[in-house]
């Protein structure tokens, strides 16, 4: 494994994909590409709403975001609380489907927004990055099935 240089990168970024956990490498690359759209959000800010058209992916840089689903009758289920380094809305954006859940900050937060078209272009141009997204999605899918199993009891 090469030593980290002053950027915090290993010498050859392609190798990074094999040695660093998926999300870290991906967050690093996404930041390099999209950091100019970093925004500060106050506590209680809604990043996206369940059922809305997928405008883009959010990378959480700081703070915490709660992900939930709710029914028309007002019942809400909390799915998880996201931490810095996590991607939000990835599934919806790639599938071209509405956001599956509502994302709302539970603390002051810093997010990077990657618009849908540009994010997909980013993946198309960078197969190693795309592979990491696939890895990340597969972990999330497995977790989703786990969740289904728990709820089925």
């Amino acid at each position: 494994m090469a030593k980290r240089n002053s950027n915090g990168c290993h010498g050859r970024c392609v190798d990074l994909a094999d040695t660093v956990p998926a999300a870290d490498y991906l967050a690093h690359e996404a930041l390099k590409r999209f950091s100019q759209t970093t925004e500060a959000r106050p506590e209680g800010s809604v990043l996206f709403e369940e059922g809305a058209a997928p405008t883009g992916v959010f990378l959480l840089r700081a703070g915490r975001v709660k992900l939930s689903v709710s029914s028309r009758k007002g019942k809400t289920v909390l799915l998880q609380v996201a931490s810095p380094g996590e991607f939000l809305g990835l599934g919806a954006v790639l599938a071209g489907r509405p956001y599956e859940m509502t994302a709302q900050t539970v603390s002051p937060a810093e997010v990077v927004f990657a618009p849908r078209e540009e994010f997909i272009r980013f993946l198309r141009e960078r197969p190693p990055v795309c592979l990491e997204v696939i890895r990340l999605l597969s972990y999330e899918l497995i977790a989703a099935y786990e969740r289904v199993r728990t709820l089925r009891r």
Partner: protein, 238 residues
């Protein structure tokens, strides 16, 4: 060429005429040529199991023809159907890519043909073909989206009646509307429906009887007719 299970085997991805509506298979000629080299095809009878929950991931299976169900065991040992698999889907993606054990079992519901691609070959193929990697990401996202629809539904609904109503409404989207209602073929047993929604067969049978008594549905053999769709819609949470 026909096989013992009565299937017409599709010998070559490049000349396959089912490709066009399939997310994964509809690739450029170059990508298809390389795919053809790394896949091995086989036909399987009804009931065959492609992989079992908990097994180490050997690779992915592309379901060329046929139908399958994806099942997993719940915390208390019951079998749950996670989803039904249609032709064109790539199975075992999550496990193959992440290196984790297969998260579910795949069992074939009819004679089927599937292409197997070894894990190493598949990962190398993805690295070399950006367009395929993107399609795989899209399929995973669609699976994720469906899983979340399920989570949302399970988290928010209460009774088995609600869940059966929702399932019938989902199926009715592929049914035919007529003057007596929406008709569709139901090929799952009560036991399988129970596995899909996480309840007992007896409860499902009771719900169906109740729906029939209330004239919400009518059952003639394997054909189900929804006579009162608005009533079913009112039952479901959203």
């Amino acid at each position: 060429m026909r096989t013992p299970y009565g299937l017409d085997i599709i010998d070559n991805c490049m000349t396959c005429n089912l490709r066009e509506d399939r997310l994964f298979c509809n690739l450029s000629q170059g990508a298809l040529k390389n795919l053809q080299q790394i896949r091995s095809t086989a036909s399987y009878p009804t009931g065959a199991v492609l992989f079992v929950e908990g097994q180490a991931p050997r690779g992915v299976f592309v379901l060329c023809q046929g139908r399958a169900k994806l099942t997993a065991s719940s915390a208390d040992g019951k079998t749950l159907i996670l989803k039904m698999v249609e032709p064109g889907e790539v199975l075992g993606l999550g496990a193959t890519v992440s290196g984790r054990n297969y998260e579910a079992t795949v069992e074939l519901l009819e004679p089927s043909q599937a292409n197997f691609i070894r894990r190493d070959d598949f990962l190398k193929y993805l690295k070399e073909h950006g367009e395929v990697a993107l399609r795989v990401a899209q399929q995973l996202s669609q699976n994720y989206h469906s899983a979340y629809e399920e989570i949302r539904f399970l988290g928010l609904s209460h009774s088995t009646a609600e869940k059966v109503a929702r399932l019938l409404l989902e199926w009715s989207q592929k049914g035919q509307a007529g003057k007596d209602g929406v008709r569709m073929k139901v090929t799952l047993t009560h036991e399988e429906i129970a596995q899909m929604i996480g309840t007992s067969r007896e409860t499902v049978t009771r719900v169906f009887s109740d729906f029939k008594k209330r004239k919400l549905i009518e059952i003639k053999g394997s054909t189900l007719v929804i006579r009162n769709k608005p009533a079913l819609e009112q039952m479901t949470n959203s």
